[in-house]
Amino acid sequence: MKLTILTVVVGVLLLVVIFELLRRRQLREKYAVLWIVVGIGVIPLSLFPRGLDVVAKLIGVASGASLVLFLGILLLLLICTHLSWEVSRLEEETRTLAEEVALIRTRLAELDSRELSHDER
């Protein structure tokens, strides 16, 4: 019973944190949806920890707990991969911006010096 309380509290807390981050516009929807789905999935499981035993048996996993661990690690791996991909993309985007900034600075310096020499005349 104690364990159920712990797991339910953790699940609800997760949902609250995500909702709060969304409310403060700190989290883009695409990530929020993912975590809300995870949170909603975790709460019934915390109430009925034996609920997955049937599914586990069906695919040859000894117990529901092992199945949850397996799926959990798989999900985390996928999210990590996705974040690495996202960071690479962001780096490429900032790189492009840096290039544009450099070119604009050069052009600006060129125009400034042209104006200067024009004034002297």
Partner: protein, 233 residues
């Protein structure tokens, strides 16, 4: 220069205030009609100012991207300002501007020309893992480009319009990627690659890395870069 082609010399520079002025002066003395672009890769010293004083066009990146990043910006500049030929040169004075015209004229029969250090001229030598890496790269890239390439990691190279367009869009920021990847890319896309022997001089400033651990890391990184370049889409 014999033709009426517009040539841009791209010099990526990161904290090279000491040598950049001399390099630019030398280029101007040797090739008075050629434009020089210094890409200041987020230096914290006076590289930009020194280059401007020496008469180069300077473009300054807001933060350090690495030599590949600086080079891609150089190609982007060449593309936007309609240059016909882009020549890469190092800021440390290793590359002799007297070889530039040989590189540019070799472009008549090739799309990418690499100034090679081991092709007979000069006395540059490498040993140990670094040498193994270079031999392996030479072997694979020579096969790929169907020509003898002896110095695939040389940053002294020239290319024409089609490759300027390609490199402005796509040039890896990673160390070694900017030399190996770009050569593989050119060869795989059907461009002609050629090499021209050049003499390599001692650097005006800074010291080359030569520790055995670094050389081994270099070998590993070269192999990874090469493998990735070969399987890339």
């Amino acid at each position: 220069m014999t033709s009426d082609k517009r040539v841009l010399i791209i010099i990526p520079a990161f904290n090279e205030a000491e040598s950049i002025g001399k390099v630019i002066a030398e280029v101007h003395a040797e090739l008075p009609t050629v434009d020089v672009l210094v890409v200041d890769d987020g230096s914290i010293d006076d590289t930009s100012a020194a280059a401007r004083v020496a008469g180069a066009i300077v473009t300054t990146l807001p933060y350090n991207l690495g030599v590949g990043g600086a080079r891609r910006l150089g190609y982007l500049y060449a593309l936007r300002h309609d240059y016909d030929v882009a020549v890469q040169l190092d800021a440390d004075g290793q590359h002799d501007p007297r070889n530039v015209s040989a590189l540019v004229s070799a472009l008549d029969s090739a799309d990418l020309v690499i100034g090679a250090r081991f092709a007979g001229e000069g006395d540059y030598r490498a040993r140990g893992p670094r040498w193994w890496a270079m031999s392996l790269l030479s072997f694979v890239l020579s096969k790929l480009a169907r020509t003898r390439l002896t110095d695939t990691t040389s940053g002294f190279r020239a290319c024409g319009r089609p490759l300027i367009e390609g490199y402005a869009r796509w040039l890896p920021v990673e160390y070694l990627g900017d030399t190996i990847d770009t050569t593989v890319w050119a060869a795989r896309n059907g461009y002609t690659v050629r090499q021209v022997p050049v003499a390599m001089r001692a650097r005006m400033a800074g010291t080359p890395s030569a520790s055995p651990i670094k050389a081994t890391m270099y070998l590993l990184r070269a192999m990874i870069t090469l493998l990735l370049a070969l399987v890339r889409k």
